[in-house]
Structure formats: C-alpha cells, structure tokens
C-alpha cells in the first residue's frame, strides 16, 4: 500500500503501531480514509479498533504510558511530526465518544461553543451554535432551552449534542467511537441517519461493534482482528458492499457470517 495521500484520501496511516506500556495493541496498520465518506472499523472486542481510532487525533497519547509509532497523514502532513501541535490536530479531527459526555456544568449552548470559538460576537456565536445543532438534528428539540443543563436531555439527545459540539469546531474529519453503543434502538436509528447526512460535509471514521450498523451507514469497511499475540491487525478494507458480500480474506468471512467474535 502506498502511504502518500492521494486527493481522494484525506487521512491515512502508515505503518502505525500503538502501545500501552510494553503491550502492542495495534500493529503496523496502513489504511487510507476516503474524503467525505463513512469508513466503519469493525472487529471483535480487543481487536484494537478503538485504539486505532484514538491514534488518529492523538488522543491515545494522553493516556498514561501510551505510545505510538509510525505516521498518520492528514492531507499529506504527518500529525505526529515534531512541529505539529496536538491541540491543532484535534481541532481539525473531531471526536465523539462511546458514552455521551456533555460537560455537566455548562449549558447546552456553552457545550456547543466549548471548542473555544473566540473573537466572535454573541450573534455570531449563536449562529455557529444553531448551525451545529441543526446539523446534529437537535435544534428543534433544544432551541427553547439552550441555557439549561444538558443532563436533562435523553441519552440520544446528549449524544447528538456531543456531535454538535464536535462539528461546531468545523473539523475536517469526525471520529466516532461506537457512538450508539449506549443508546436504545430508536436513538440509534437517529444517530445512524445523522452519520449518513454528516458524511456529505465531513469525513467520518466510526468504530462499531455492530455489523448491521456498518452495513447500513458506511461506504467503506475495515475489518480488524487480534492475532495470536493479541496485537490488533488490519485484515481487510474494501467498499462496504464488497466486503460484506465477497470478502477476500477467509477470516473476514468467518467474522461476518458469525463464526466467531
């Protein structure tokens, strides 16, 4: 695989490995993420898909004893280069987490504006917030209670608030770590629909446990599996329709037909 980001690819990894102390959790992954498409990372628990995702915005390294080798190229520039500011990287690559995590002491409005859009007038800030909340399909539900606590929202609403918070920073890439894992089926359907509509504007990389979800929302699917030494490896990546119908690797076929994991 070539590591140079072709115009169709906004984000790519090159021989990326991630460690927790001495343990290598992700091994030598080279993968490219297509611009304005949804890429799903699937695989059984412990295959390193979340760790891989967390390397893409350099949030992996904030954990104690966590380490990364290899490169991650955003528009051709290595985000792990020594002159790269991780804060700036994270502003360009947003993230939504497994469990909704709005800031409990900030109002709904301040949550959306938490990315620190300084130098805007009050009016402009409201516009930014409204645009983000509309894009996250939450505006109509919260427009009358922007000053209230986010903790009174339902789980699905909180997760959409977190999506609004992430996209208010106007990132180029949106990482989603099992964004529906803690939600009920109805809220899950709303988020899935949202992922499809957000893909028109953002590049989305989403980790999911749920193969049906990957099939429903993603354009490209990557399958990961831990090898016998518990190192997460990228097994296969292809258009979602191809991967689920004609997998090239027997291990992928075993997984998607439910033979393990």
């Amino acid at each position: 695989m070539t590591a140079v980001a072709a115009p169709a690819e906004i984000l790519a990894t090159d021989d990326l490995s991630a460690y927790y102390g001495e343990h290598k959790a992700v091994g030598d992954v080279s993968i490219q993420f297509r611009r304005k498409a949804v890429t799903a990372l699937i695989g059984p628990s412990g295959c390193g898909k979340t760790t891989l995702l967390r390397c893409l915005n350099r949030i992996h390294e904030v954990l104690f004893d966590a380490r990364v080798t290899g490169r991650v190229l955003l528009d051709g520039h290595d985000i792990y280069a020594t002159d790269m500011d991780p804060m700036r990287v994270r502003r360009r690559i947003g993230m939504v987490f497994q469990r909704p995590n709005p800031f409990p002491t900030l109002s709904i409005l301040d949550n959306v504006l938490a990315c620190g859009r300084h130098g805007l007038t009050r009016e402009q800030k409201l516009q930014v917030a409204e645009r983000a909340l509309r894009a996250a399909a939450l505006w109509d539900e919260v427009k009358d209670k922007l000053k209230t606590s986010p903790l009174r929202l339902s789980g699905g609403q909180q997760q959409r608030l977190c999506i609004a918070r992430a996209i208010a920073a106007e990132p180029e890439v949106l990482l989603m770590d099992e964004p529906t894992a803690s939600l009920d089926p109805i809220a899950t359907a709303v988020i899935e629909e949202l992922m499809c509509s957000l893909a028109k504007e953002f590049t989305i990389v989403a980790v999911t446990h749920n193969m049906q979800q990957a099939a429903r929302v993603s354009d490209v699917t990557a399958f990961m599996l831990a090898d016998e030494t518990r190192i997460g490896r990228l097994i296969e990546v292809d258009d979602t329709s191809k991967l689920f119908t004609k997998p090239r690797d027997p291990r992928t076929e075993d997984y998607i037909t439910g033979r393990f994991g």
């Binding site: 915005n57 949030i59 904030v62 104690f64 804060m87 700036r88 994270r90 502003r91 947003g94 993230m95 987490f97 469990r99 995590n101 709005p102 800031f103 409990p104 002491t105 900030l106 109002s107 938490a114 990315c115 620190g116 000053k147 209230t148 606590s149 903790l151 009174r152 977190c162 918070r165 992430a166 920073a169």
Partner: protein
C-alpha cells in the same frame, strides 16, 4: 387478606416479611448508634447552655458585641475573640483553598505517577502531625519570619491599607491565619484530589478532543464538575480552622483586642478557653468561658449549615443553570 374483591378498589396483599433475628439485632444496634449521635449533640448543647447560664443571665445578648474582656474587673465581652476566630479562619481558608485546590489538580491530572503517589502520602502525613508541633514551629520559626520578612514585605506594598499598618510583633492575626492555613491545606488537598480524580476520564478526553490544553481542561471542565466536592473539602477544613486551639494559642499573641491590622496580637474563642480555664477563679468567669464555647459551637453549626445550603443550591441550579 385476599386480592381485590369484585367492584372494590384493588387491594394489595400484605406479605409478612421474614426478618432474621440477626438482622433485627443489627438494626437495633444501628438505630442505637445513630440515636447516640443525636443525643450527644443535644447533651453537649444542653450542658453548654446550663454552664453558661449565669453569664447569659448577667450580661444578656450584649455579651456577644461587648469588646471588653477584663476578668479582674468582671467585664466579659466575646467580640474580640469572635473577631479573632473569624479573621484567622478566613485568612486560613482563603490561602488553603487556593493552594490546596491547585495542588489537588496537579496531583490528580498533571503529576507523573512516580511523583503523585509519594506526594499524596506526604500530604496525608502532614494532616496527621499533632497541632502542638505546628504551634511550636509557628512560635519559633514562623512568627520570627513574619516579623522580619513577610510582615515588612507586605507592609512595604500594602502598608497604606489599615490591614497591614502598625507595628509588626510577629505573633498576631496574620501568623495565626498562616499556621492555620498550613494545618488545613492537607485536608483541602487530600479531599479535593480524590474528588478531582473521580471525575470521569470521558469528560477530560471530550475536552482534549476539542483541542483544549490540559490546563484549559482542568480549569473549565474538571474543576467545575468537581466543585461541590471541592467546596465540601473547604468547609470541612474551615470547620477545623474555627475550632483549632493549641497551635493558634501559641502564635496569636493572646490579647483580647480588636484592631484593624493583621499584624496585631489577638485572641480566638478556642484559645481563650484553653488559656484561661485553669485560672478562672470566679463562677461568673467560668460561666463566661463556657458561653464562649457555646458561641463557638453555634459558629461551627452555622458554618456547616451554610455550606449545606450552598451545596444544595449548586446542585439545584444545575438543573436550570
């Protein structure tokens, strides 16, 4: 009793719950334990009230705002001690909260692991040092240092305010407040650190993922989320400062006077009781000292009650902001 009769309101069948004898015995012990606490507080209050009754009857409410304390002339007023207690405790809690909260954030979020564990242990150790040791150190090290260094430095900058004017004795309100701050800073730090460390990692990562620095994350997300617990830590520490006796007695100068300057000697409720109880010869003198204890008791109750109310209002306002 059977289930609902036709047409009647549905009735729930009462099931006789089996309660094991050991459970019943245990429940009795627990109830007795909690009743004991209530009784203790009530008994303490009654005892204080009875002991101070001669003084209350003689001086009336004016005892609280009278500023003369002259046992020889049978003049007893509590105001200088109330003033000294409040001022030293305020100095202590302002300094201790500032330092302790920052230290807690450092220990929980910034310090490398090999440093955080021994540092935390040291801080907890500080909390266990007997207060008389603090008092000795305060008398022989801190008070001279205030007289020769801290005091003159403060005076050269802020000497134009009444707070920092006048002669610097070394012993006085400021030294009392400093020694108290030192004594309660471990409490603030240790409890705040636990509270801050208990804030979920999720929240920190959410903030970091938006491009915030660790410092911004700590100040804008972690500390606000921990505010109720941190506030509780400060109140607990304030309670200790209000009642602390021996260390303050050794460095405050023991003079029942009110002066605007923080360099002036003063007295606290606790230290006057400790100092003068053995030499109180007349009944009214003893009774006045007990009434000081009653006032201290009240001040502590009021501070804790205020803290409770503030915690409740913070929790309540979270619903609407």
């Amino acid at each position: 009793m059977e289930n609902a009769q036709p047409g009647g309101a549905p009735q729930f069948r009462r099931v006789a719950r089996f309660v094991s004898p050991t459970d019943r015995g245990f429940a009795a012990i627990v109830y007795a334990g909690s009743a004991l606490f209530a009784l203790l507080i009530l008994g303490l209050f009654i005892e204080l009230l009875l002991g101070s009754w001669p003084s209350i009857a003689k001086f009336g409410p004016a005892f609280i705002w009278h500023s003369a304390w002259n046992p020889i002339a049978n003049q007893f007023g509590a105001l200088p001690m109330i003033y000294g207690t409040v001022v030293t405790s305020l100095i202590a809690i302002i300094l201790a909260a500032f330092i302790g909260i920052l230290a807690a954030v450092y220990l929980a979020d910034f310090a490398p692991r090999w440093l955080a564990a021994p540092l935390s242990f040291l801080i907890e150790l500080l909390a266990a040092v007997p207060s008389v040791v603090y008092g000795l150190w305060g008398l022989f090290v801190l008070a001279p240092f205030v007289r020769t260094s801290i005091g003159p430095a403060l005076q050269s900058v802020l000497g134009w305010t009444p707070l920092f004017s006048g002669p610097i004795y070394g012993v006085g309100l400021l030294t009392g407040g400093l020694i108290l701050a030192l004594m309660i800073v471990p409490t603030v730090t240790a409890i705040s650190r636990d509270v801050v460390a208990a804030i979920p990692r999720d929240l920190r990562e959410a903030s970091m993922a938006l491009g915030s620095t660790k410092w911004e994350t700590a100040m804008r997300v972690v500390l606000p989320a921990a505010r109720v617990g941190v506030f509780g830590a400060c109140v607990l520490a304030l309670g200790r400062a209000l009642g602390e006796t021996i260390a303050v007695t050794m460095v405050i100068g023991n003079r029942p006077e009110i002066s605007a300057s923080l360099f002036a000697p003063s007295y606290t409720l606790a230290s006057v009781i400790a100092n003068e109880f053995t030499e109180a010869t007349t009944d009214i003198y003893i009774s006045a000292l007990i009434q000081l204890g009653l006032i201290l008791f009240f001040v502590s109750v009021v501070v804790n009650a205020l803290a409770r109310v503030m915690i409740w209002s913070v929790r309540g306002s979270e619903r609407t902001l």
